[in-house]
């Protein structure tokens, strides 16, 4: 028992450095995913068939191929091919972000579809172009409704970021493994990693819940 505590305390600074790597990758990926996901969702709902098909293809590919394969494909293949010499963390962030874009687009798509048709009609009737109507009427409402889905995506990416280790990014999970292998304290190490992930998720989820409350539109259930 005593030994366990010593191991955990010793490992803490080392694992926490990994947490910094994790947080950078996750926050980067979330925002990249947002910038990819919003146009994808809009394209899927409002685009002409060709755009819909293209967006669908993107979503199909990035949701369909395991992230590990994507990481390999991009880091060892595509990025090298185009002469992009990224470090492991940057590469992982980009791949995670592109993948998350596909997932986030589905969340936004669901929210857009749940808005009443009249909102878009009214905007059009005022002379707004579809682009403007989507930007100033549809998205502000849809993004509000997307916050719960977003918090799911956040907690998933947070944990998917562990896969970045295959590229050599030494984040929380990799470091946990290292310490566990050296000390044979597998269970205590994994449990404390779980606690660390939990705290990170919790912080993000709390922030998003607060945001959700703050921007809540009056007149919906509850």
């Amino acid at each position: 028992m005593n030994e366990t505590v010593t191991v955990l305390l010793d490992a803490m600074p080392y694992v926490l450095q990994g947490a910094a790597v994790t947080v950078i990758a996750v926050v980067g990926a979330m925002f990249l995913g947002l910038f990819i996901g919003v146009p994808l969702a809009v394209g899927q709902v409002y685009g002409p068939w060709a755009v819909r098909a293209l967006c669908g293809l993107y979503v199909w590919f990035f949701r369909g191929v395991p992230i590990l394969v994507l990481l390999f494909l991009f880091y060892f293949g595509l990025f090298n091919l185009v002469g992009l010499n990224l470090n492991a963390v940057a590469a992982a962030t980009i791949v995670l972000g592109m993948t998350s874009g596909a997932y986030q687009s589905q969340i936004f798509r669901g929210s857009i579809l749940s808005l009443a048709k009249g909102q878009l009609k009214a905007a059009r009737a005022l002379g707004m172009s579809d682009g403007l109507a989507i930007r100033s009427i549809i998205l502000p409402q849809a993004l509000r409704l997307s916050i719960p889905g977003w918090s799911n995506e956040y907690s998933i990416i947070l944990k998917d970021s562990a896969l970045a280790f295959v590229l050599g990014a030494s984040e929380i999970m990799a470091r946990t493994h290292f310490v566990a292998s050296r000390t044979y304290q597998h269970l205590p190490m994994y449990v404390s990693a779980a606690v660390l992930y939990f705290l990170l998720t919790w912080a993000g989820v709390i922030a998003l819940r607060a945001l959700e409350k703050r921007v809540r539109i009056k007149g919906y259930v509850h």
Binding site: V69, L113, S114, G149, N152, S155, K159, V221
Partner: protein
């Protein structure tokens, strides 16, 4: 070339086919149970009062907050410490269901909160109890809105089912790992595995799209 082909046909494909069968046996029940419990938990989180809501929120926070691999690890390697022994398959399905339900609950919660209050009022005015209002009026609408998000979760589940190999339930990825490290043809093996997952995800996406179309409310869409 020829040798590659023989390896593919005689070694890899049979192993992967064996694995994919296990994967499907893991995914289907976990997905169905996950949605079922996800709806219940989501409803408790949005509408349950006091204790019920707190417990449901705590559950969702815990299972979204910690990595699935650690949940599985604890279910399989940790619980024997208190005398509970699960079969690998059982542990995997329990783990996947619990985790999946937590994520579904968040999408459902978002869907529930996107329903206009008038719907709830109208049901109550007809004498619906809170429970029947939920079951017959609010959830059917919320579920439609949450469906794209829930689709994400099912896709994630398909891919995360690969973690079952960690607790010795050798499904698609597990089989692939064996073949790959024996033959050391990592790239080839994982490209083929990628195709397998792509097929699984495509089937699921197709099914989800069909379901979405079927449930579409005439005149409501954009």
């Amino acid at each position: 070339m020829n040798e590659e082909f023989v390896f593919l046909l005689e070694r890899l494909v049979p192993a992967l086919n064996k694995g994919v069968l296990v994967s499907v046996q893991l995914i289907v029940p976990s997905a169905l149970l996950g949605i079922f419990f996800g709806v219940i938990v989501g409803a408790c989180r949005a509408f349950g009062g006091g204790i019920l809501q707190a417990v449901a929120n705590g559950y969702a926070a815990l299972f979204r907050g910690t990595p699935l691999v650690i949940q599985l690890f604890i279910l399989y390697f940790g619980l024997p410490g208190v005398g509970i022994y699960f079969q690998p398959y059982t542990a995997a399905v329990i783990g996947f269901t619990l985790c999946s339900a937590a994520y579904h609950s968040e999408y459902i919660r978002g869907g529930l909160l996107s329903i206009k209050r008038g719907q709830e009022l109208a049901a109550q005015a007809l004498g619906f109890s809170t429970f029947t209002t939920l079951v017959w009026i609010i959830i059917p609408q919320a579920f439609r809105r949450a469906l794209p998000g829930c689709g994400n979760e099912i896709v994630y589940l398909i891919k995360y089912s690969s973690l079952a190999y960690v607790i010795t339930c050798f499904e698609l990825t597990g089989q692939a790992k064996i073949v790959a490290s024996e033959s050391f043809r990592f790239s080839e093996v994982f490209m083929v595995v990628g195709v397998y997952y792509l097929v699984l995800v495509s089937v699921a996406s197709y099914g989800l799209r069909r379901l979405e179309k079927r449930l579409e409310i005439p005149g409501f869409g954009h």
